[in-house]
């Protein structure tokens, strides 16, 4: 394992080893950048696809249909072959001016000075609390990301008969995961009059025998320790109780921009993404951003492409401004 605390002369530090981060790292190496270090807080690299045990991944970038985990493995292998250095279990805890990163790893805490930094920290779903959903705090309330990590990485299920909230692409993916795990959702709810994605979702819901309720929202989550039922209301104010043992909140993706929001970098408070110029460069010129952090939620292939493109900007910047020392 690379000790990030002893990594000197870092040309580019990349925060996050998802598709965007790895694509950028590989491209940077190919363009002759010498010291490229990927910092990943998990104990394995690969990002979100690691726990999406379903296709389609890789169509745009590898011209193959793959599942998330095999796609992640391929990306890691390619990065290793290209000479990318990777520090796992390494959390970036703060972004300092001009590319000075504070990091924490089981080996210790400290800082790294990079000439340029690429932030590729991805997105997450909006949990129940941030949606201000009524009801009790109980076991059995989850998001698709959490469900998929449980199912695909740990072989565990958080519920058997949940209510699914949301009708985005990812909700579709949630239904498949449930199917695979032997989970039988009892209802799918959408606040709006129409599902966010029409065709496949209605079909899938129908196929899996999950009744779809439009114009309907949760008004209470009931239970003692674990979810026992939800109360839902439709647009006319009709209330019904649905027995279930969980609530799965899907979609409403929000950038994982906590590092940015706690730092000196400018954040767009509407999108919660960092403010960038046409080169994906942030308000501190030592920082760039790519991937889902910039546009929730895009497919992995597009994040990959964007990572690669941003890498060209960074490589060019380094070449042209090698003499300009942004760092201390």
């Amino acid at each position: 394992m690379i000790n990030p605390l002893k990594y000197d002369n870092c040309d580019v530090a990349i925060i996050g080893s998802g598709p965007a981060g790895l694509a950028a790292a590989i491209a940077l190496k190919k363009q002759g950048v010498n010291r490229v270090l990927v910092l990943e807080r998990e104990s394995e690299a690969g990002g979100i696809p690691r726990h999406c045990g379903h296709p389609p991944f890789g169509v745009l970038e590898h011209a193959r249909v793959m599942t998330g985990p095999s796609y992640a493995k391929k990306n890691i292998r390619t990065a290793q072959n290209a000479g990318v250095d990777m520090a796992l279990k390494t959390s970036v805890t703060a972004l300092g001016v001009k590319g000075e990163l504070s990091i924490a790893s089981p080996l210790g805490t400290g800082t790294i000075q990079a000439k340029r930094v690429l932030i590729a920290t991805g997105v997450r779903e909006t949990p129940r609390s941030a949606r201000l959903i009524s009801g009790s705090r109980l076991l059995g309330i989850s998001t698709t990301g959490a469900l998929q990590s449980m199912v695909y990485l740990k072989n565990l299920i958080p519920f058997r008969n949940p209510v699914v909230v949301g009708t985005e692409i990812v909700s579709f993916s949630a239904l498949f995961t449930c199917k695979k795990a032997g989970i039988h959702p009892v209802a799918m709810l959408e606040e709006k009059p129409k599902p966010s994605i029409m065709q496949p979702l209605q079909k899938a819901a129908h196929l899996f025998g999950v009744p779809l309720f439009l114009n309907t929202q949760i008004i209470n989550i009931i239970g003692k320790d674990r979810v026992e039922a939800v109360k839902v209301a439709d647009i006319e104010g009709n209330i019904r109780k649905i027995d279930c043992d969980g609530v799965l909140f899907t979609g409403l993706f929000t950038p994982e921009s906590s590092l940015v929001s706690m730092s000196h970098l400018k954040l767009d408070h509407n999108t919660k993404s960092p403010v960038i110029d046409e080169f994906n460069r942030c308000s501190d010129l030592a920082y760039y951003a790519a991937g889902n952090l910039l546009q929730p939620l895009n497919i992995a292939g597009n994040c990959w492409r964007q990572g690669r493109k941003t890498a060209s900007f960074i490589a060019k910047d380094l070449k042209e401004n090698a003499h300009v020392n942004l760092g201390k």
Binding site: A130, L132, L139, T143, A146, S258, K272
Partner: protein
């Protein structure tokens, strides 16, 4: 001394004393809220053998689960009341002991903020009350002075009273430390042990719990939201009635912390302390609590309408919050009664003390109440021999402004990234003399899943680490079940 000294009693560890009793002790404390934990600590240190009996699988299952975590000076407490005395003593005691227990203190100070002329008109009364309560360092701040201190506050603020010594603490680590110290000094604790009945033979109490019988010379009722029911079921009658009063809160993202350094108190009205804006020891900004009468003693649910109103009120006072994401919502239930004051009742004949109706200042007042219990027992003629060299207990720090576990190498891995909770912390919280008894208990001991993502990244790993550890676990089964 260490965990050898520490008695978490499981039903099969019978102790000598009485032939039929599972445990016998000088004092039985019923209820593991902050009050019960503080009483257990005090009496253990005074040399009594104590047993704390809790119906839930872990401490802090009632009123103490969700509060504002403010360490009150008592400047606005009812003058000359027991509450005022306990709050003040509790405050002083916390300041005295917190460092040795490794408990944090965030020296925020508070502003009683007036946003209208009517509110300003109440200031003289507040000053007077403060002086009568011995809080003599209150001072008036002008709008300009306030905005110097708190530049992000809305500028329609008029004036404020500065309460320099009103602080913020960790609402869960404090009671945890109190009980842990009691256990490390010979005390015992029983969980999943609801007290349902009991009998007094003139010398001893025999309490029926779901785990078996407990024999004790004295009983301290610290059952919080169930204090009246316990009195009725075991003592035979009660002098008060619990009127549960819920308070909802909204927690803003840590990015909001830079917007506020003090606690912003409203001008108190008759019924409630009102909606507060405050920093937490964990680095968030919180708005709340509401004051809603309800029937249920256990239903701490939130509702969207109220939460939305809270957010609006917060934004009105601190406009930049409009740009801040919301991290969490929660509610706590105050054990209010039909009267305002603490309902402390000493039944001499029956060796029974009820600490009831510890409504909205119990986190601060607990250590003071514990001293009060000691005084009452002394009056009754008890003579325990104070421990000469008590074991010093420490608890892990969870406060954001002090070094956390992740800053020390060798932690294996971060489990919860948002709150930077290490595997080492999780493992430790499930061991030792007061191990987590539930997922909630584990969260309160470590903060796992309490951050921005609320478990998106970490609940799978946490489910794996806690598999089969608790009665109710995150996972309900395996894939190929």
């Amino acid at each position: 001394m260490n965990s050898k000294n520490c008695n978490k009693t499981t039903p099969d560890t019978h102790k000598k004393g009485s032939s039929s009793s599972l445990i016998s002790a000088d004092i039985a404390i019923i209820g593991g809220g902050v009050v019960g934990c503080a009483v257990a600590r005090k009496m253990a240190l005074e040399g009594a053998s104590v047993v704390l009996i809790e119906k839930a699988p872990d401490i802090l299952d009632g009123a103490s689960k969700g509060n504002s975590a403010i360490l009150h000076t008592g400047f606005d407490a009812p003058v000359d009341s027991l509450e005022q005395k306990c709050v003040q003593n509790g405050y002083d005691e916390y300041i005295k002991i917190h460092e040795s227990l490794n408990l944090p203190l965030l020296k925020t100070s508070a502003l009683v903020a007036a946003w209208s002329k009517e509110e300003e008109d109440r200031f003289p009364d507040i000053f007077k009350k403060g002086v009568n309560n011995g809080v003599k360092d209150l001072c008036l701040l002008s709008r300009k002075e306030i905005l110097n201190l708190e530049p992000s506050l809305a500028n329609h603020i008029r004036s404020a009273i500065l309460v320099p010594k009103e602080y913020v603490i960790d609402p869960w680590s404090a009671p945890f430390a109190y009980l842990k110290q009691a256990l490390e000094n010979g005390g015992q604790a029983l969980f999943n042990a609801e007290v349902t009945k009991g009998r007094f033979d003139g010398t001893n109490w025999y309490l029926n719990t779901k785990q078996g019988e407990v024999q004790a010379g004295y009983v301290i009722n610290c059952a919080g939201l169930y204090g009246d029911i316990l009195d009725k079921n075991v003592l035979g009658s009660t002098q008060f009635q619990i009127k549960p009063r819920k308070g909802q809160f909204v927690v803003f993202d840590k990015a909001a912390r830079k917007l506020l350094s003090s606690i912003i108190l409203p001008v108190p009205t008759e019924r409630t302390k009102g909606i507060v804006l405050f920093p937490t020891i964990f680095g968030n900004i919180v708005v709340g609590p509401t004051a809603e009468e309800q029937e249920s003693r256990s239903n701490a649910s939130v509702d969207k309408k109220t939460l939305t109103l809270l957010v609006e009120q917060a934004i009105e006072k601190l406009p930049a919050l409009a740009k801040m994401p919301i991290t969490a919502t929660y509610a706590g239930i105050r054990p209010a009664t039909e009267k305002k004051h603490y309902r402390v009742i000493h039944n001499h004949d029956k060796n029974w003390i009820t600490l009831g109706g510890i409504r909205s200042t119990g986190l601060t007042g607990a250590l003071g109440l514990a001293c009060h219990v000691h005084d009452l027992l002394l009056q009754q003629g008890s003579d325990f021999k104070k421990l000469e060299t008590p074991v010093t207990t420490t608890v892990p720090n969870l406060a954001e402004h002090l070094p956390r576990d992740w800053a020390r190498e060798g932690y294996e891995e971060i489990i919860c990234h948002c709150e930077m909770v290490t595997k080492r912390e999780i493992t430790a919280a499930m061991k030792g003399c007061l191990p987590a008894g539930s997922i909630d208990g584990l969260k309160r001991r470590t903060r796992a899943t309490m951050g921005r993502c609320q478990g998106f990244y970490c609940s799978a790993r946490l489910a794996e680490l806690t598999k089969e550890k608790f009665t109710n676990t995150i996972g309900v089964g395996e894939l190929d079940d």
